[in-house]
């Protein structure tokens, strides 16, 4: 409890543990701790507050996924790591928007982190594909799939919510929904 109530910048190991434990307060402290640094980088290099938000959240998600999948090895300070990821992401965006003048104002030390942003790119693509497929799936399939596979609700609860007369009907419905979702997901390029 004492750790959770701490409000300053979390230590690096606190962050790792917090992510693994899904700690809300550590995430918040992490977010608040390094956002100003990233904001400074972006707004002084042709960006605005919204760009900073996008880039920073992408970086946090990269960190989150890495820690969750267990292949995160902290080889430098967490601050440097986050800064490097954001810097890399921002450079990529600048060149996509043709706004990159070949010169970037730096405020921190940084590492080269090409590999990690590339991996995240694949995850991004799959995330977007899944989102699109679910949208196309429509109701009630979308809710059934989300309830069962994401929110881990039981078939019995789902059955009651949707007013199916018996569990078998609900299971058949869910099966059909899943088959359609697969089709939609893999049809996308």
């Amino acid at each position: 409890m004492s750790k959770e109530s701490n409000t300053g910048i979390p230590t690096d190991s606190e962050v790792i543990l917090g992510i693994l434990n899904n700690s809300e307060s550590v995430l918040k402290r992490l977010y608040l701790a390094y956002f100003p640094m990233v904001l400074q980088l972006i707004i002084n290099n042709n960006g605005d507050g919204d760009d900073a938000k996008d880039v920073y959240q992408e970086a946090i998600i990269i960190l989150y996924n890495k820690v969750k999948t267990g292949d995160f090895e902290l080889s430098s300070k967490l601050k440097t790591y986050i800064y490097s990821i954001c810097r890399r992401l921002w450079l990529k965006r600048l060149s996509q928007m043709n706004r990159y003048g070949g010169d970037i104002k730096d405020f921190q030390e940084y590492l080269t982190v090409d590999d990690e942003t590339e991996k995240n790119n694949e995850r991004d693509i799959q995330f977007n594909k899944m989102g699109d497929a679910l949208k196309l799936l429509g109701e009630p399939c979308k809710t059934i799939i989300e309830d069962f596979y994401i929110n881990n609700r039981s078939m019995k609860e789902i059955c009651e919510d949707f007013g199916y007369t018996n569990a078998d009907n609900a299971k058949t419905q869910k099966y059909k929904c899943l088959q359609r979702l697969k089709k939609l997901f893999f049809q996308q390029k």
Partner: protein, 368 residues
């Protein structure tokens, strides 16, 4: 077993809801049947993707919630590297600054105008110019004083009271010019193109045709070379390209032109002794030779009658030849051998003039 039921079994297996026996049996089935094995892996992967999607969505929601608590604008202001004070001042107030500057410039100009500052400038310039004039006058006076201090030049250097042109008719010092040039002369000098002056005397004059013949009597005169030109006896046709050399000023000047009429014009009557030519001539040209393009002498410029605009007249060369024959024998000390050989015919104008210039003289006349 239908696909639907198989899926249910697979889900049970993956969620760990099977009993130990069921699990063992399913694992045997999975090992034996590659199709079922594939289905298990596939389903695991796909549900994993759905879970990932859900987790990410959830995470983004949380991050957005945290983000909304941050006052981004305040942070931005704090973290933006501020440009220098002057740049910010300009960005914020440039319109006001521009207006102020225009008013200031306008005010300064108005003040300058009304205080007469601009006019004073002009006054200064006029005064300066006046000063320069005064200095110029003083310099002139000084120059005159210096001149008056010098001893008087000899008569030979005096430019003469009246001036004309003459040219040699023989190599031994006989020169022909217009009668009106040497009329009433006390003394006559001729000056060659290289600047040497020789005393000369009039030995014959013919007022009717306005021809006069001089003889150089100066001891320092050396015999000229053979004359390069001959005298044309026949009439020359209208349209012939002609030229003259003369001394309308201190230097010898070429006057090119055309023969424009075969008669002259003497006030009211036509004058058959002269040609009309379109050559710009001045009084100093009087007595100069008129040559055609081959270098033959076809006449003597007679500038006395140049009251007609754009036209001059020249006495025809056959009257010159007659006049030479009319010279009384007792006034000739040496024979006049007029040349009949022309060496200029094939030369260019520039070469012709080079050869001619030694035979054309300035005639300077002095009378009281």
């Amino acid at each position: 077993m239908s696909d639907n039921q198989l899926l249910e079994v697979i889900e049970k297996y993956l969620n760990g809801e099977m009993t130990r026996d069921e699990r063992a049996r399913f694992e045997i089935l999975r090992n034996e049947n590659a199709e079922i094995n594939n289905k298990v892996t596939e389903h695991k992967h796909f549900t994993g993707l759905i879970k990932q999607y859900g987790e990410r969505l959830e995470l983004e929601k949380r991050l957005n919630a945290i983000h909304n608590e941050i006052d981004v604008h305040a942070l931005e202001d704090e973290l933006m590297i501020q440009p220098s004070f002057i740049v910010r001042l300009w960005r914020n107030h440039h319109s006001k600054i521009s207006v102020a500057a225009s008013i200031a410039i306008f005010a300064v100009l108005c003040t300058m105008f009304f205080t007469g500052y601009l006019n004073n400038r002009d006054g200064n310039i006029v005064q300066l110019r006046a000063k320069i004039d005064i200095i110029g006058k003083k310099t002139d006076q000084l120059g005159k004083t210096v001149k008056s201090l010098n001893p008087q030049h000899s008569g030979a250097l005096n430019p003469g009271n009246f001036r004309g042109t003459g040219f040699a008719i023989s190599s031994n010092g006989y020169i022909v010019t217009d009668n009106h040039v040497i009329k009433d002369a006390d003394s006559v000098y001729v000056q060659s193109s290289d600047g040497k002056s020789y005393k000369a005397k009039v030995i014959y004059s013919e007022p009717a045709t306005d021809i006069a013949v001089l003889e150089i009597t100066d001891a320092s005169f050396k015999v000229l070379g053979a004359l390069p030109y001959s005298f044309k006896k026949a009439e020359t046709d209208i349209g012939e390209s002609v030229f003259t050399l003369g001394y309308p000023r201190d230097a010898m000047v070429l006057g090119p032109g055309f023969l424009t009429a075969s008669t002259g014009f003497n006030g009211t009557n036509t004058d058959s002794t002269a040609y009309q030519v379109s050559i710009p001539v001045n009084f100093g040209n009087s007595g100069g030779p008129l040559l055609d393009s081959r270098g033959d002498i076809i006449g003597i410029i007679n500038a006395k009658q140049t009251h007609v605009e754009g036209a001059a007249f020249a006495i025809k060369s056959n009257f010159l030849l007659k006049a030479i024959q009319n010279i009384p024998a007792d006034s000739l000390k040496k024979p006049i051998n007029t040349n009949t050989k022309n060496v200029l015919a094939t030369l260019s104008r520039v070469q012709q003039i080079k050869k001619l210039q030694n035979f054309v003289f300035m005639v300077k006349v002095y009378n009281q």
